[in-house]
């Protein structure tokens, strides 16, 4: 980790930001990114993602702390000398210019010759498969096409760092998924560093090397997509990423890696001690729905459950259960033809899960 910090390409060091001098929108942000990484900032609306991006791009100044790019502090460098490509949520294609003029704008302001400009514009357009649209105005393009042009424009001057603020937010689901792959491939082929902002978690998980989950101006967890899903470090992340069952309880005892939690009604279960306090403090046990099985199992926690609802979803069956008074407990049963047949609404059954699949986290 220390070695990585030395070669960090983008670095936020104890950055704070306040717009009004009363509240902190970004609180003590520390983040280091190596070159070539695809990092996504994910979080609910108003959590400060855009603000972080704007500070990096130079449109907002950090109230406190340092932002470094390639080891150099950039707090006082104006946006146009940072050499950072940016894709805006509304694309911000210049409406009075054609696609070609939009793309050659960054090259012109850099004083590049005409021939070189044309070659670069053509290459960038081909890269996003928009070669034939050079003479159109942005208003004559569809949303997805505008998106590609915005992407090409942010890349045409070969920036090492590209920022994207919800670039796919305005597209329909199918096009969004398609563009996710295209952006991912461009990132891989060009070797650029990308900071990507979204509040769509599946987008974050499919595209990123690492994801920073934001809430309330603080990074809740910075980890790879699989870590984030498998090993959430606090209840917010467990709740925000994917589906999650939570059982509220009190810590009875901590022994090493695991903890014993007393659930309402007196039953106990064991879970990994990830983020818990002293015995007696409140905790929330988090279990992914697909890690729970119906029926008893050896060497596992088990609980009594009553079937509340069965929803047929084709490849699997969603089973809503009441477990220790929590009637939002979800179990996913793979549709193997027979699995669901044993269950009917109202019936009582036993469920079980492994201790290492249950994580004791902070109470919400």
């Amino acid at each position: 980790m220390a070695g990585q910090a030395d070669e960090a390409f983008v670095e936020f060091d104890r950055v704070q930001k306040s717009y009004d001098g009363v509240t902190l929108v970004v609180k003590d942000l520390n983040l280091a990114m190596p070159k070539g990484e695809f990092l996504t900032m994910l979080g609910p609306s108003g959590s400060g993602k855009t603000t972080c991006l704007m500070m990096l791009a130079g449109f907002e100044t950090a109230t406190n702390g340092e932002i470094r790019l390639g080891g150099e502090e950039i707090n006082d460098i104006p946006p146009h000398r940072r050499g950072i490509g940016m894709v805006f949520q509304n694309y911000a294609l210049f409406p009075h210019m054609t696609v070609n003029e939009n793309l050659s704008f960054p090259l012109e302001v850099r004083g590049m010759g005409k021939d070189e400009r044309e070659a670069k514009v053509k290459r960038a357009l081909d890269m996003v498969q928009m070669g034939e649209f050079g003479n159109r105005r942005p208003a004559q393009l569809s949303g997805g096409q505008q998106q590609r042009i915005a992407l090409a424009r942010a890349l045409v001057f070969d920036p090492e760092l590209v920022l994207m603020d919800e670039p796919l937010g305005a597209l329909d689901k199918q096009l969004r998924e398609h563009m996710q792959y295209e952006i991912k491939h461009l990132h891989e082929n060009l070797g650029i560093t990308v900071v990507y902002v979204t509040h769509d978690q599946s987008e974050a998980l499919t595209m990123s090397d690492r994801v920073a989950v934001f809430n309330d101006g603080v990074i809740q967890q910075l980890a790879t997509p699989s870590d984030l899903y498998e090993r959430p470090e606090n209840s917010f992340v467990a709740q925000f990423i994917g589906e999650n069952n939570k059982l509220a309880g009190k810590v009875r005892s901590v022994d090493g890696e695991t903890v014993t939690v007393e659930l309402p009604g007196g039953a106990t279960c064991r879970a990994l001690a990830v983020n818990v306090g002293e015995p007696g403090s409140e905790t929330l046990v988090s279990i992914r729905p697909e890690r729970v099985i119906i029926g008893a199992a050896e060497d596992a926690n088990s609980a009594e459950a009553r079937v509340e609802e069965l929803i047929y979803l084709g490849d699997h069956i969603r089973c809503r259960l009441n477990v220790y008074g929590n009637d939002e407990f979800i179990v996913k049963l793979p549709n193997s033809g027979i699995a669901s047949q044993g269950l009917s609404v109202g019936e009582s059954t036993t469920i079980s899960w492994k201790t290492e699949d249950a994580r004791a986290l902070d109470p919400l």
């Binding site: 946006p79 146009h80 805006f88 911000a92 704008f105 960054p106």
Partner: protein
Amino acid sequence: MNDTAPSPQAAEAALTTADGRPLAVALAEAQSRARRRAFLLVLPLLAFVLITFVAPIGQLLYRSFYNPAFSDNMPALVQWFKENPAGTEPDEGAFAALASDLKGLRANKTAGIVGTRINYDLPGSRSLFTKSARKSKKLEPPYREALLAIDEDWADPLLWRVMRTASSPWTASFYLAALDRSRDAEGNIIRVPEERQVYIKLFVRTLLLSALITLTTLVLGFPVAYLLATLPLRHSNLLMIFVLLPFWTSLLVRTTSWIVLLQSQGVINDILVALGLIGEDGRIQMIYNQTGTIVAMTHILLPFMILPLYSVMRPIDPSYVRAARSLGASSWTAFRRIYLPQTVPGIAAGALLVFILAVGYYITPALVGGSTGQLISNLIAFHMQKSLNWSLAAALAALLLGGVLILYWLYDRLIGIDNLKLG
């Protein structure tokens, strides 16, 4: 139903509604009802505009080339002019016709009207008509001698030429006069003598001053409109009130307050003298000249520049400029290449509005313009109210209207009228 049922092929070509009427007919019927209602809604305004705007303007244009003052009151002479081609020496018959018309003038008390009409083209001849008409009762043949006895001027060939022109109620002479032109003995168009050339100079001055005022309102208004469009709502509302404040006070009050400020015993001069920047006898003349007109009109027309600019700037997304900056443009380049081009419809609309208003402005130059700050409308007003030469006033106004329409047409060719954004 059977005999009207269309053949299968025709049914394919012309669709019908559920009750069998052709679709096109049904649609036209439905639309014509809506159109009738729309027409009825605008009817009151249409009538108002026709009565109070189109009719007077038409009347005005008509007057500028139709003046029957002479032809209606001098029927005998008109008849003589008709029978004898241009260049014929006025003979005894002509003077006899003149004498009979003069008697008619005396009887109808219309000598003044005819005299005024001839006076437009030949200054000083009004009294000739009134005097001769008064004495016309004693006129006896031979009329030539009798009339020359009343006044030698009746022999003036120029007078006869002018009367021949005036004998037709249709005339271009008011337009010629409005362009500082007149006709010489052979009927060629020539410029009037240097000291009587006023109108062209005034037209040029009006256009130049209007252009200058348009430019100053643009230079002063652009930053204000930008602030209005970008400040947070709370501040921009306050600023907007300041911009609109002039509309809430009377034009006269505003203009007089400029007099208070700018006159040589006024506030600004007093301050300059008190500061010792100028001496007591070096007070600057800032009003009752072109400076006064420019300052006061710039102030009065400023909102007409700011509001269209604002309405264009408001919806410009700040992310355009941000995008330009992130692409490597300095803030000046981003402004010049990205922001400014997007405000062009507002600039064009504001400039057109201010220019057209300035070209026709009357009250402010009349109050603060002195003699060098008068515009063409002040002269039009003079001819309407003082010299009572309505035909000339109408010709001047028509030329002004024509000039503005040409500018408008040029604007449409260069910028496109559909790019105009007034709000």
